[in-house]
Subunit: 401 residues, 2 copies
């Protein structure tokens, strides 16, 4: 036992873990169901009325919930519904992309209160760090101008950027983010902002956003297929974002497809990068987004071939996701122009047969999610909010924080 081999074990828990969990469960219930009375909460969470009363009182004191007007419904004393107070907490979300960086301030219910973006100069972290820190600072300042005491209610800074993380570069992408991926970003941002900083890849951030305010709201098993400059999948499994052993789960852009005797990564076939190449467009062109939106909505025949090819690959990807994950639904989202996403969804149907074809489905197999340049930053911000307020296993354990 003196053999220095570290002992591995899960952490235990105690009263505080219990209490923290029950607080989170209340907040989660209000987020999913809207306003609920204490009696409703007691029934739904299987806690006693008294326990719920105590917790709600505490949450109200902390400014996280507030009572609404009493509701009469049949016999008995009218109930007093409680709702989440949007101003109860805020988080900053930061998206680092190839040419731009975006930052948002988001409140407890997922509303975006402040948005700001900046051009990211070439040169990676050496020049970009200052831009990013300035952008975050400006968003915090604007937020403070809108809401009193916002800084006290700031639970963290969430960062989203393309993955994968921790891999030696494949080096075949001229717009690769390798310099950023290797940079000690978390430490730098923690030091530069004083906030609790978390990192996700952009597909994961999109999924986090969909879970907080989008098509995955209240779902425990959903996969978001994210079409951006690259392509990735954000995995909501058992009600939580799944990260894998190294934070790279869902990086399906690097999945190899075999066709015509050669192998191609999926993201060379179905991603904005592939479209840019197909169109011989300059990814750094600021008007490109609008231009592609026009092309896609105008029914330009030049883009149709690409849409057909990409849709075929996406159709197969969805089939594979359904087969592997058995989710409640698949959500197609992206930082691609909305018209393009809509064209893709139209071109994907009908879906391939899979185990997802079951009687008694209530959700469609494929749904469209957000296709908004700001959704990744929103999802980045949703990360710290979820960490702070959503019920999850790790939050109960003693070593959580």
């Amino acid at each position: 036992m003196n053999d220095s081999r570290p002992i591995r074990a899960k952490s235990g828990t105690n009263h505080e873990g219990t209490s923290a969990h029950n607080r989170r469960v209340m907040i989660d219930a209000l987020r999913i169901n809207g306003a609920l009375s204490r009696a409703d909460l007691a029934r739904a969470t299987r806690l006693t009325k008294q326990t719920v009363s105590n917790i709600i009182e505490e949450l109200e004191r902390d400014g996280l919930v507030s009572s609404q007007e009493a509701v009469r419904k049949g016999r008995g004393q009218p109930s007093t519904p409680y709702r989440l107070v949007p101003e109860g907490a805020f988080a900053i979300g930061l998206q680092i992309d190839r040419h731009v960086t975006r930052a948002v301030a988001v409140d407890l219910v997922g509303r975006v209160l402040v948005r700001a973006e900046a051009v990211l100069p070439p040169g990676g972290p050496s020049t970009g760090t200052k831009v990013i820190l300035d952008l975050v600072a400006s968003v915090r300042l604007k937020l403070a101008g809108i809401v009193r005491q916002s800084e006290k209610r700031l639970v963290g800074l969430g960062v989203a950027m393309p993955g994968p993380f921790g891999i030696d570069g494949s080096g075949d992408d001229p717009w690769m983010m390798e310099a950023w991926q290797k940079f000690p970003l978390l430490d730098t941002l923690t030091a530069g902002t004083g906030l609790d900083v978390g990192l996700q890849n952009d597909a994961a951030a999109a999924a986090t956003a969909e879970r907080m305010v989008g098509a995955a709201h209240g779902l425990d098993h959903a996969v978001c297929l994210f079409v951006g400059y690259g392509i990735g999948a954000g995995l909501i499994l058992n009600g939580e974002l799944y990260r894998g052993a190294n934070g790279n789960a869902g990086e399906i852009g690097m999945a190899l497809l075999f066709a015509d005797g050669k192998s191609t990564p999926l993201e060379h076939r179905a991603s904005l990068a592939s479209l840019y190449q197909y169109l011989s467009a300059d990814p750094a062109d600021p008007d490109l987004h609008a231009h592609i939106n026009d092309l896609a909505s105008g029914g330009d025949p030049g883009i149709d071939t690409w849409i057909e090819t990409a849709a075929a690959d996406l159709r197969w990807s969805i089939h594979l996701i359904e087969t592997i994950f058995d989710p409640q639904t698949v959500i197609l989202c992206g930082s691609a122009p909305e018209a393009l996403v809509n064209r893709l969804i139209a071109a994907i149907g009908p879906l391939l047969p899979s185990i997802a074809e079951r009687r008694g489905r209530t959700l469609p197999r494929l749904q469209s999610g957000m296709a908004d340049p700001w959704s990744v930053a929103l999802g980045a911000a949703a990360g710290p909010i979820g960490r702070a307020f959503d019920p999850h296993f790790a939050a109960i354990l003693k070593d959580s924080r």
Copy 2:
């Protein structure tokens, strides 16, 4: 609020949830690390010495742990290590396959104490139910002959059979298990045995077995690629088996591959079923397993082509699994003859490039797991043991049971 819409919420927890979790954490720590002293456990779980002492005392009273001889190690009072008592709990595992059914009795540490198998007559549940119930009864009887009071320590019956569950049959497999998949098996077995019954597909059971006593022992992120009559993946994510929304996660046999302009399910290319067809063999032949083992170990050229094709598909499947799940390792296991699994592993290498190629890996990307006809039944039994003793989120909540 009167609108009958059910309120959805996670369940709260209380003292008993805390206590139950901490007990499970102790057992888990002893399972992963071997014998540990109370002080070791306190450090590893971040609980106090006193708490650990109380829990260990209770576990010892319950016959789940026992003390070993004191160990001197440097200054200070010698420590008393505690270990799991194998006879502390038992579970019955039942595998229902196409032609046979197997049942085992397994103890707390995953040792198989009793095994029994029976031929499953054609006709599905109408004739098979009695065979199964008799088999389970005989295993329980034999176990009771070996261990006193075994019935009191029986935590449940785990069942494993090919999936997917709840799907209207594709009907293209002459050996399909559709009649079993539609049969109210859980209710029948619960009524017929009086035990707590759980169900997994066979790949999930294989993964559960690997996690308890095999290559995934102590790992939190591992995927078992299971080659049997069909092919499936058992997913260990965040330390737990992932089931998906409908219990069908990992059923990759139905994944469609596109090649030469047509689509084929993976299990028509890399599974024993495909090999049987390739060899024009009768799946019901009881000597087939040994025969194929001979073919594979003898280097029969007739089987080489199939191995090459299957290995290529498995190589790609592993690549895809690594890309999607970012696991610590992938484990190839199966109910296929061991020589065949070894040939396949040899033919799979070298692996395709993926994000799993990272510096500082300690585990191999691909490992071989159990290739034993009994491993699925063992995994089936490991299900109830895990449910009863492993730490997991659901076990903390008030509605767990």
